[in-house]
């Protein structure tokens, strides 16, 4: 469903991604690990369509369509979702109102009837339970005054409501204590399905104790240096990233 080929991207003329190849099939969960500054968020943002990233070479196809030619909102309508590493606050804009605008814009685009307020509230309550999000958060301003953990939980809640076919979770686990991690991971697991693929960007293998990945990739210096199964993550935790770099240099 997602095919990234030879992707090069730079920010302010600085080369960050230097030839990424990545193929994800429906239902697969891929973990992307790597040291700080290796380009994980850059990759996530390029997939979601953020401005300021210049793609200098390569392609991304999603369900057979050229993702790079689409606006961010069109990507959302097509089923891409990004859970942000640092979700922004939008004061005064009701959390549920934002989601309703997003859901209905997508439904309009797909030729479906818009959900009315009642239907939408029903959907939202159900999904809030799924990620154990307190109902009180629904009517607050988007991320307004949320703690770090609450923001991350809100991201997964939004994912549950928007029902994407590709979800990118950018360090959703960082800043979470163990209980919050368990809840968030539980929510993600409930959202796993044969049609939904997930890219999990993380520093820590502990997340993978809760969400079992199909494939683990090591992203360093703008390239995927190594891919493997669950055991690769354990090895990374023990040995760090340098050995992967060395291995890659000698390959």
């Amino acid at each position: 469903m997602l095919k990234i080929e030879n992707l090069h991207a730079s920010v302010d003329g600085k080369k960050i991604l230097k030839g990424i190849d990545l193929t994800i099939k429906p239902g697969e969960v891929h973990a992307i690990m790597g040291p700080n500054g290796s380009g994980k968020s850059t990759l996530s943002n390029v997939i979601a369509g953020r401005d300021g990233y210049e793609v200098t070479a390569g392609s991304i196809s999603f369900h057979g369509k050229d993702l790079l030619a689409m606006q961010p909102e069109e990507r959302a309508w097509a089923g891409v979702f990004l859970a942000f590493q640092y979700p922004v606050e939008i004061p005064g804009v009701n959390n549920v109102y934002l989601l309703k605008a997003g859901v209905n814009a997508r439904r309009r685009h797909l030729g479906l009837e818009e959900l009315d307020a009642m239907e939408f509230m029903q959907l939202v309550r159900e999904k809030a339970r799924l990620v154990e999000l307190d109902q009180a958060f629904l009517s607050r301003g988007v991320n307004e005054g949320f703690s770090g953990g609450e923001k991350k939980r809100n991201e997964i809640f939004q994912m549950a409501v928007l029902e994407p076919s590709l979800a990118i979770l950018d360090e959703t686990d960082s800043g979470l204590d163990i209980d919050a991690l368990r809840v968030v991971a539980g929510g993600v697991n409930k959202l796993r399905s044969p049609e939904r693929s997930i890219i999990m960007v993380t520093h820590y293998q502990r997340l993978l104790d809760y969400i079992e990945p199909d494939v683990v990739h090591v992203l360093a210096d703008g390239k995927i240096l190594k891919s493997g199964d669950r055991t690769l993550a354990l090895e990374l935790e023990k040995r760090g990233y340098d050995w992967v770099r060395e291995e890659a240099a000698h390959a």
């Binding site: 979601a48 369509g49 953020r50 401005d51 300021g52 606006q71 961010p72 909102e73 990507r75 959302a76 309508w77 891409v80 979702f81 990004l82 942000f84 979700p87 922004v88 939008i90 004061p91 005064g92 804009v93 009701n94 109102y97 934002l98 989601l99 605008a101 997003g102 859901v103 814009a105 997508r106 685009h109 301003g141 988007v142 939004q158 928007l162």
Partner: protein, 481 residues
């Protein structure tokens, strides 16, 4: 594309109310002198005391000069080039009911979406429509009359209730208060008059739409609202003006008086023609609005949504004279293209335990320049007075500006003052967040702006809150590319 480049288009929304009604009108030739004032007074059949009052104001005005302390730039107005009276030609003795009103006028109102017809009666809105200088249609008089409420053009009040007009006119904004107020006192042509008797809660929202139609006429309305002891009234003023290349002057005076335990809620939705994208044309909106909480436990609330005018110069204020009286000011102002606004409020605490709240939300886009100017004065007898001021600016793009000028004068040490101010920019990160949730850029900007304005919109009467939301949306339309 960068944040700025993206949102800088937030400027080019076409003005929807910019049509001119083709209707014959009686217009005085341009110029201002005692004869013009006598003429206006004679047309209106005014009593001598009012003519004398006007002439005294004119004499005072001649000694004054146009103020230039506001943070706005414009070429000075030539007061001799303005016509001071323009009225649609009347048939016979003027309309007795809506059926007799010139259909073209009604068509104009319809384009503006003003509720004039009977069915709007059900919506509970009574409209006193001011077309240029003369009120042409007043609805729902019957129901108001039953409640003892007087709601009519001020020219009619001069005839029908001279004792009330004489008692209150100019007691809140004296004729010599400022340059524009003096000019208005000399030449005011019409406006609304409201009197709510003791203990009466006005049974519906009262509403006036002002519209400047004839070119080169200044509009000088005078509005006077009195809430007697224990009375309550909510009043909405809406304004639009057609599109013209020359600048038009609008110098209104609004006076509110609240006696013991009375409450007045005054809401304004102002979308006068703002000029074009090069800053040509548009209304100069130089208005004096002041409320006097004359009685104990009285309350006056100003809520304004200002999206129009080339230049706005206005400070709806409250004089908190009565003990335990309350003043409120809630404002959203949008300046885009080359619009300039210098607006804010004055809260003058004179009585004991008086309280005031100021919430000002300024949005600037394009080359818009906006200043908040607010004075909080605590008099020496105002023991236990409290003020809370919240003053937020939202910038869209990088060529606009926001400025804050808070003034505080405290003469009583028991006063409690709080002031919060923020300036933010609609960020690329906020827009991207919305877009990644499936919301197109233009809708995202509306969402963020409306969120920013929420505290103020919440203060508007329900139906007008919806209107204000829509107005913000059309004002920002075409802004994003």
């Amino acid at each position: 594309m960068s944040d700025n480049a993206q949102v800088e288009h937030l400027v080019d929304k076409k003005y929807e109310a910019g049509f001119v009604t083709d209707i014959e009108s009686d217009t005085l030739p341009p110029g201002l002198n005692e004869d013009v004032i006598r003429h206006i007074s004679a047309i209106k059949g005014e009593p001598d005391w009012l003519l004398d009052w006007r002439l005294a104001a004119f004499a005072h005005w001649k000694t004054m000069s146009e103020p230039h302390w506001a943070h706005v730039k414009y070429t000075p107005t030539d007061y001799q080039a303005i016509s001071y009276y323009s009225a649609p030609k009347k048939r016979e003795d003027g309309p007795q009911s809506l059926d007799e009103v010139d259909p073209k006028l009604l068509e104009t109102y319809k384009k503006l979406g003003i509720p004039l017809h009977e069915q709007e009666f059900l919506a509970g809105v009574a409209v006193d429509a001011v077309f240029d200088s003369v009120s042409v249609a007043t609805t729902f008089k019957g129901k108001l009359k039953d409640a003892g409420v007087i709601f009519c053009p001020i020219s009619e009040a001069v005839q029908e209730h001279p004792e009330l007009v004489k008692k209150y006119l100019g007691t809140v904004v004296p004729t010599g208060d400022n340059f524009f107020a003096a000019l208005n006192s000399a030449v005011f042509t019409d406006g609304s008059f409201v009197y709510i008797p003791k203990g009466v809660r006005c049974p519906m929202e009262l509403s006036t739409y002002f519209r400047i139609n004839a070119s080169n006429t200044g509009q000088f309305e005078r509005t006077l609202i009195i809430a007697d002891e224990g009375a309550y009234v909510s009043y909405l003023e809406g304004c639009t003006a057609p599109q013209r290349d020359e600048n038009q002057l609008h110098a209104a005076v609004v006076e509110l008086i609240a006696h013991d335990d009375a409450q007045i809620k005054y809401s304004t939705v102002q979308n006068w023609y703002p000029g074009d994208e090069n800053g040509v044309g548009g209304i100069y909106n130089f208005v004096t609005k002041r409320g006097d909480c004359r009685g104990a436990r009285s309350k006056i609330s100003w809520t304004q949504v200002e999206t129009g005018s080339a230049i706005t110069w206005k400070y709806p204020s409250c004089v908190l004279r009565g003990d335990d009286s309350v003043g409120e000011f809630y404002s959203v102002a949008l300046t885009k293209m080359h619009q300039q606004a210098d607006t804010g409020t004055k809260m003058v605490h004179l009585g004991k335990n008086t309280r005031s709240t100021i919430v000002s939300k300024g949005i600037s886009a394009g080359f818009g320049q906006q200043s908040y100017r607010g004075l909080v004065h605590i008099g020496k007898d105002a023991t236990g007075a409290r003020n809370h001021t919240q003053c937020d600016s939202l910038l869209i793009g990088s060529t606009c500006g926001a400025h804050t000028f808070p003034y505080v004068e405290v003469k009583n040490p028991t006063a409690t003052m709080e002031h919060e101010a923020t300036t933010s920019r609609i960020g690329e990160d906020q827009l991207f967040y919305c877009k990644s949730r499936g919301i197109a850029e233009e809708d995202a900007v509306n969402l963020i702006v409306n969120g920013f304005c929420k505290d103020v919109f919440n203060e508007l009467p329900m139906e007008f809150a919806v209107e204000a939301n829509r107005l913000m949306e059309v004002s920002l339309e075409g802004a994003v590319g």
